[in-house]
């Protein structure tokens, strides 16, 4: 519809492509050897969606087990494996690959580049990540352990020493865990290097740093954060592997090592890691909200500054995960204050999104619905974060369901919601088909209801004293009803995700044709055909403002007249 308004000088051939028949094996081969950023992006997303289903099934099994007191659905050993694998999978095999996959597809398009800077490194990174995931799950088969059965890591995604050292975890499961994360970590590093090099040296003419779409900015910041934080974890994992297999003593307190050292290493990586997951979806929100409010983003420079600020501060807050370890009051105070500091740039972002919506002609289509829910849920998650940042409060609630509620509010309420928003928003570009709005609305509302049933309630059982990582509880604790509600909510979310998968399949087959620019948007990716051809752009585009397509569509009132 909107493409007619773009004067693209007749260079665009809009006739549908003829579907030549390529034998299945050849087509598969093409995908395996591809170095095209768009195909790799799709592979990342498919890979991540697959593992999302796996880790989701693990979560649902845990919720069946916890739905009523004294339940015997899962053995305790199996329960431990499931929460470990669930966390590890969701963070490393779902969150990171899906976000880096979307970035892989979108970033070169948004900056007017023909591909990522290092296409072969890009493919290498994807296959490393994929291999890491397979290695992790291979532990179910190869990781025979203490219990003599097929076994998997069962020490939590943080793998604290000494539980993760040899005397307490005898089989090779922890080695699988460490190696899998080292391997997939290398993959992530490759992608991060690629994204930074691409954005800094391959932007098209006229795209100054302060004209880059915010999604690109956020991915730039995230990639930098990844480069700084992944390898310290790798170093710690190498030490752990040596401890376990060659008798070194880094984390073995009895021989003079320090288990505390592992905890520091883990969270020096771990806290920035949670920002690695959330910053890209800030970028997604900053793309979608303006388009669906029909207004330019409010306070662009402040958004950029806040993103960089959050990344910096997030490097200095890790010990808020360690208040109960027993630190000096000076360290406690430092980490309380530095953690609260994150609230300032984060608050700036929330206000700017609200100000963007304010007074706009808002279109509540599915991507926008997910984004609006994101804003409010992320706000609440940030507030419980500030509560937990108060050391005495944390002494009470550390390792309780309150903490689980806090971080799932971010991980699901903010990140997963916006990942869905991103898929609804960019699916038409990637496939040429629209996702169904009706199914999308069903997906959104069910997911929203399920989410709140589950994670709002978790705050309460947490405050009532229910610890995390327990496989069952007695009936007289009074947690039974609430846990049942939590489990019901989990299943509603599961149904919503099934509707989403159904939507993808149905829309791929007979979705509405999308055209180039179904949302009447303003960034460069919408100037290409859907899906974009190999190498994206025939002639290198030239931009004059932050919204190049706005300028083209409104030559009488272009943005560059106003931007300084």
């Amino acid at each position: 519809m909107a493409d007619q308004s773009i004067p693209i000088g007749g260079s665009l051939d809009v006739t549908p492509r003829d579907h030549e028949r390529v034998p299945l094996l050849d087509r598969l081969h093409e995908w395996v050897v591809t170095v095209d950023h768009k195909r790799l992006g799709i592979l990342y997303v498919l890979y991540a969606l697959f593992f999302m289903a796996v880790a989701g099934a693990e979560a649902l099994s845990m919720r069946i087990q916890l739905a009523v007191p004294n339940n015997h659905f899962l053995q305790p050993e199996l329960y431990d494996q499931f929460f470990t694998m669930h966390g590890t999978t969701m963070v490393f095999l779902v969150g990171m690959p899906i976000l880096f996959g979307i970035a892989n597809y979108i970033v070169p398009l948004q900056i007017g580049a023909r591909d990522m800077a290092f296409p072969r490194l890009n493919a290498f990174s994807f296959w490393l990540t994929a291999f890491g995931g397979i290695l992790l799950y291979w532990s179910y088969i190869g990781g025979f352990g203490l219990y003599g059965m097929g076994n998997a890591p069962d020490v939590g995604w943080w793998a604290y020493a000494p539980l993760s050292t040899k005397p307490f975890s005898i089989g090779p499961t922890i080695d699988y865990w460490a190696l899998a994360l080292i391997v997939s970590g290398f993959g992530t590093l490759g992608t991060a290097i690629n994204i930074i090099a691409t954005t800094l040296s391959m932007r098209c003419k006229g795209m100054t740093l302060l004209r880059m779409p915010l999604f690109v900015w956020l991915m730039l910041v995230v990639s930098a954060l990844t480069l700084i934080t992944i390898t310290p974890l790798t170093a710690a994992q190498v030490m752990l592997l040596l401890d376990r297999n060659l008798g070194a003593h880094f984390f073995d307190a009895q021989a003079g090592g320090s288990a505390l050292l592992w905890i520091h290493f883990f969270w020096i990586f771990g806290h920035p890691e949670v920002y690695v997951l959330v910053l890209p979806v800030f970028g997604v929100a900053s793309e979608i909200i303006p388009v669906f409010s029909r207004k330019a983003i409010f306070g662009y420079p402040a958004m950029v500054a806040a993103s960089v600020g959050i990344a910096f501060v997030s490097l200095g807050v890790w010990a808020h995960h360690m208040f109960t370890v027993g630190m000096t009051s000076v360290s406690n105070t430092f980490f309380v204050l530095s953690t609260m500091l994150v609230g300032i740039p984060t608050g700036i972002k929330i206000f700017n999104w609200l100000a963007t919506i304010w007074g706009g002609k808002v279109r509540f289509q599915t991507p926008m619905l997910f984004c609006v829910a994101f804003i409010f849920q992320f706000l609440i998650a940030g507030l419980t974060g500030i509560m937990l940042a108060v050391a005495p409060w944390d002494w009470q609630l550390h390792n309780s369901y309150f903490v689980i509620a806090h971080f799932h509010y971010v991980l699901v309420g903010a990140i997963v919601f916006n990942i869905f928003a991103a898929v609804y928003y960019w699916f038409p570009k990637v496939t040429g088909k629209m996702l169904s709005e009706t199914l999308g609305k069903w997906h959104f509302w069910l997911f929203l209801i399920g989410f709140h049933l589950t994670f709002d309630t978790m705050h309460f059982v947490g405050i009532m004293g229910m610890p995390r990582s327990i496989y069952t509880y007695e009936a007289n604790r009074g947690w039974g009803h609430l846990n049942f509600i939590i489990s019901v909510g989990a299943f509603i979310q599961g149904i919503a995700v099934l509707i989403f998968f159904w939507n993808v399949i149905v829309s791929l087959r007979k979705g509405k044709e999308a055209g180039n620019d179904p949302w009447d948007a303003w960034t460069l990716e919408w100037a290409t055909p859907s899906p974009p051809p190999a190498y994206n752009f025939a002639s290198d585009p030239v931009v004059h403002s932050r919204r190049p397509l706005w300028d083209i569509k409104h030559p009488d009132d272009p943005d560059w007249k106003y931007e300084s």
């Binding site: 004067p7 693209i8 000088g9 260079s11 665009l12 051939d13 580049a113 023909r114 591909d115 990522m116 800077a117 290092f118 296409p119 490194l121 290097i193 930074i196 090099a197 691409t198 800094l200 040296s201 391959m202 480069l227 700084i228 934080t229 992944i230 390898t231 310290p232 974890l233 790798t234 170093a235 190498v238 030490m239 040596l242 060659l246 008798g247 070194a248 003593h249 880094f250 021989a255 003079g256 090592g257 320090s258 050292l261 290493f265 180039n516 460069l524 290409t528 055909p529 051809p533 190999a534 190498y535 994206n536 752009f537 025939a538 002639s539 290198d540 585009p541 030239v542 190049p548 083209i552």
Partner: protein
């Protein structure tokens, strides 16, 4: 086509029209951009390496603070001549590598090959000395977890009569020193092995003239890597070999 035209269905033919050197990949605009991106990528990679070794150095600092006497005793069992020899070899190899990059820049294939071969030889020399040292640790029962014995540290080291023998629990802590010694020199040696292998591959390609036609980015960026690995050793040498040698 006016200057606002952005999209086109067939991107590839448009790009093929203009002339460019064979090594310029299709997705770059020009040679300068390609070189800039590659160098930049290498620096980013080195940043991750700094963070990796930074993690190890961090652990080193903490344990050295706690168990200083054990670190002194452990350090005094290393061969200072071997460490010095290796430091020299690596510094020279950095020079030969720099000369290789220069030779590529001025497009002299002969000197390029010679400097690369020299660098490989020096790198292998380093690894041989390192292997000798590791073997020596093994013979002297200094490998934690495999054949460690604290015997040596509960008695006076004849080479350092000024050092007092350690109490048994501090003598145990020498294992921490050796754990660090092996992980740090081991990770460094791994980087050396990878470096020598990569250089061998570059050498084969250089024989065909791949880097003396203006396409120097691979040699140049490999040089960055090689110098980085050298610098790590420049830190490892004093930290591991020279603890309190003045006594």
């Amino acid at each position: 086509m006016d200057s606002h035209s952005i999209a086109a269905q067939t991107a590839e033919p448009a790009h093929l029209e203009h002339e460019h050197p064979a090594f310029l990949r299709h997705h770059f605009e020009n040679v300068a951009q390609q070189r800039e991106a590659a160098t930049f990528g290498m620096w980013l990679f080195l940043l991750t390496e700094i963070m990796f070794f930074g993690g190890l150095f961090c652990a080193y600092l903490i344990f050295r603070n706690w168990y200083y006497p054990a670190f002194v005793a452990g350090s005094h069992t290393l061969h200072i001549w071997a460490g010095t020899l290796n430091t020299t070899l690596l510094i020279i190899s950095s020079f030969t590598m720099a000369m290789a990059v220069h030779a590529a820049e001025v497009r002299h294939r002969g000197p390029l090959l010679r400097w690369m071969v020299l660098t490989i030889v020096l790198g292998c020399g380093f690894l041989c000395v390192k292997a000798y040292e590791w073997h020596d640790e093994w013979v002297n029962h200094h490998v934690p977890g495999l054949n460690f014995s604290i015997q040596e540290f509960t008695h006076t080291n004849p080479a350092y009569p000024g050092d007092k023998p350690l109490a048994p629990d501090m003598a145990e802590k020498t294992q921490i020193y050796y754990s660090l010694y092996f992980v740090m020199t081991g990770m460094h040696a791994l980087h050396m092995i990878i470096g020598v292998s990569l250089l061998a591959i570059l050498l084969i390609r250089a024989r065909g003239g791949a880097f003396t036609n203006g396409h120097i980015a691979p040699v140049e960026n490999f040089g960055l890597y090689w110098h980085f690995v050298d610098i790590v050793w420049i830190f490892l040498f004093p930290l591991l070999y020279l603890i309190s040698r003045h006594q």
